[in-house]
């Protein structure tokens, strides 16, 4: 929604003076003026408790601004046509003669190369958000306005190529013009403002652009799981009334929107989103439907199925338990407002969305919203393993429950677990940072990192990063744990100079998919052995959700965990179970 300039200024003025700063660069070739104000206001909203400080560069020197940018958490790069050739702006008079168009194209090509190089170089140190020209081209071509000229098509083609190439650079995010169009339906160019102050945007467009840019600066917590209803949601029709063959999801039966919904859910599942079904239905009918009809969403995409006539909130509780994630990480989609209200009452943190079965336009907009809620920067190997490993985990828990509790250790030793540990800090592994930023339960302190902050810390010589991957006879879990900390020199151990080092662990997370395998003990055992430290210090902080971490620390320390609690090698060896998995180290 478009923000007013007055509103933006009031938001900025309301930030406490002592709030920790959030330095962000706004790099453009025009006067940043109100775009800077709107960007700052949007950042204030996205990062409450921080004081965004937007640094700008020199007028007319976008490439130079990119080369000089430093000491910021992120930078946004706003490219306009005049940055590619000043003759494409309104403030310079180089001529619009037909004979000059070829020369302008040549200059645009050279500028694109320079911008691409400068952006790629800056992205090595700073996460960048890049917006390509949003203003209309001036009436430079000799064709009537309705006709796209070869010149303008060539220009846009060149820009499209650069944006596609930059989108492949790690740490660069490109603003999607389609998203910007949805946010900014008004006129973009303000000729008066451009001529009088060098700021080319209308206030409404500047507000929308700032919103689109800031959305990409924040590492948003993504939703992890989607729980869907079946009747009049995944397909058209009530299974119990029309039977398996009476349900539809196609054009012929005017139910194509359900096919599109299935297609979206299948796409989300293959990209790592957890999909479950909560349906008041006859289980045998549902099984028959999935077995005999060719749904686009496959039965293997779904885990678990909760199909019965009980309350939906109970189904959601069991699904959350099976997934081992919190209600805040989940979206429920259902065509029944009553069922959604019942779920919401029992699980207030759940996002409940109505499937508008009678309104394909609204259903399409729901799909766009779902894509946004579950959207991610890239798909990792772990994404393709997630659903399968949860299913395998349920199998493991089932098998484990069958053995006596005192034999649980034996059981774990017989699942052929293999832990693979890597202490490589470079190149930057985005999966490790993703784990740190989205894991809640086995999390030392709940601390989150911006990309540049993480990168800078890992560049410190004494910083240790350990990433753990795991597999057992139930299948691979992929990368499931990250431990990072600082190796402290010998003199600072207990204030003496015993020559022994300690590792101060500042962050430690483990995916809930890896619980119940005692992997955390094997990680600590490896740290003591591999790093040759005598003591671990934990930057522990209790959070609302890190009970599993608190329980683990209490178990090894034999006392409730406290901030900066320490664990000696001797103490650990006395209190830890026997080694459970084979451990392998990779370079």
């Amino acid at each position: 929604m478009t923000m007013k300039l007055a509103e933006a200024l009031k938001i900025i003025q309301s930030v406490p003076l002592d709030a920790p700063p959030l330095p962000v660069a706004l790099l453009c070739g025009f006067t940043p003026l109100h775009l800077e104000t709107f960007l700052r206001a949007q950042l204030c909203n996205l990062f409450p408790g921080r004081a965004p400080n937007v640094k700008t560069g020199l007028y007319g020197d976008l490439v130079g601004n990119l080369q000089r940018v430093t000491d910021v958490s992120a930078a946004v790069v706003v490219i306009e046509w005049s940055d590619l050739d000043p003759r494409l702006g309104l403030r310079r008079l180089g001529g619009w003669e037909p004979s000059q168009l070829h020369d302008i194209l040549g200059e645009v090509n050279r500028s694109c190369d320079r911008l691409q190089n400068a952006t790629t170089a800056a992205a090595r140190n700073i996460p960048l958000v890049v917006s390509f020209p949003t203003l209309p081209l001036p009436p430079i071509s000799f064709t009537p306005l309705a006709r796209a000229s070869e010149f303008t098509l060539d220009l846009r083609s060149r820009v499209a190529v650069v944006s596609a190439e930059l989108s492949r650079v790690p740490s660069v995010k490109i603003v999607d013009p389609q998203r910007l169009d949805a946010l900014s339906s008004s006129r973009h160019l303000d000729v008066n403002s451009d001529l009088s102050s060098g700021f080319p945007y209308t206030l409404a467009h500047a507000s929308s652009l700032a919103e689109a840019l800031s959305e990409l600066i924040l590492n948003r917590p993504l939703k992890k799981g989607l729980i869907t209803d079946l009747d009049d949601t995944l397909w058209r029709g009530i299974l119990g009334e029309v039977g398996v063959k009476g349900t539809s999801w196609d054009l012929d039966n005017h139910s194509q929107i359900h096919a599109l919904y299935q297609q979206l859910l299948h796409s989300l599942a293959t990209a790592g989103t957890l999909i479950a079904v909560a349906s008041k239905n006859d289980q045998s009918l549902v099984e028959e439907a999935f077995a005999s009809r060719e749904l686009i969403l496959l039965a293997t995409d779904i885990f678990p199925f909760e199909v019965h006539w009980g309350a939906k909130s109970e189904s959601v509780a069991r699904i959350l338990d099976a997934w081992n994630i919190s209600a805040a990480d989940v979206v429920c989609v259902d065509d029944s407002p009553m069922d959604l209200a019942e779920i919401k009452a029992a699980h207030p943190a759940t996002e409940c969305l109505l499937f508008p079965r009678e309104n394909p336009q609204a259903a399409y907009e729901l799909m766009e919203k779902l894509r946004d809620l579950f959207g991610k920067d890239k798909i990792s190997e772990e994404d393709s393993l997630r659903a399968a490993s949860l299913r395998a985990n349920a199998e493991l828990q089932h098998d484990k429950a069958k053995v006596a509790s005192d034999a649980a250790g034996d059981f774990i030793r017989h699942i052929d677990g293999k832990l693979t540990l890597s202490a490589q800090k470079q190149p930057l592994d985005s999966r490790s940072l993703e784990l740190v930023n989205k894991t809640n339960q086995f999390n030392l302190n709940g601390r989150r990192f911006q990309e540049v902050e993480w990168q800078n810390w890992l560049n410190t010589p004494d910083t240790v990063l350990v990433a753990a991957s795991y597999r057992d006879k139930y299948g691979p879990l992929g990368k499931i744990a990250v431990i990072a900390g600082d190796l402290l020199p010998s003199a600072s151990v207990n204030g003496d100079s015993s020559g022994k080092r300690r590792l101060r662990i500042r962050t430690w997370v483990m995916s809930c998919r890896a619980f119940s395998r005692l992997i955390e003990y094997d990680c600590v055992r490896w740290l003591f052995a591999k790093l040759d430290v005598e003591e671990l210090e934990f930057d522990f902080l209790p959070t609302a959700r890190n009970t599993p971490m608190q329980n683990f620390l209490q178990d090894v320390l034999r006392a409730p965990a406290e901030p900066h609690c320490r664990l000696s090698r001797t103490q650990f060896m006395q209190n830890c179970p026997a080694a459970n998995h084979s451990v392998e180290e990779v370079a």
Partner: protein, 82 residues
């Protein structure tokens, strides 16, 4: 017309949050150090947004005090009403 002054006062309060309410009616570019060219552009944009008008670049150099701006707004509003 009092409504114009109230709305204009709000614009000044947003552009110059350090001003006390009673100081605003007498303020001018010459008397306020923070009223530089950038703040002047922001103030004009706030006024355009608040009153839904577009101020001609030719008029902007004359709008250098609360009173002058209030006169300008009264004039343009009464011309618009004719």
């Amino acid at each position: 017309m009092a409504e114009i002054e109230t709305r204009l006062t709000n614009c000044f309060a947003t552009a110059f949050p350090e001003l006390k309410a009673q100081e605003i009616p007498s303020v001018s570019a010459g008397s306020l150090a923070s009223w530089d060219s950038l703040a002047g552009i922001t103030l004009i944009s706030l006024i355009e947004e608040e009153f839904g008008i577009s101020i001609s670049p030719d008029d902007v150099p004359d709008l250098i005090s609360f009173e002058l701006i209030a006169d300008y707004l009264r004039r343009t509003q009464s011309e618009g009403a004719k």
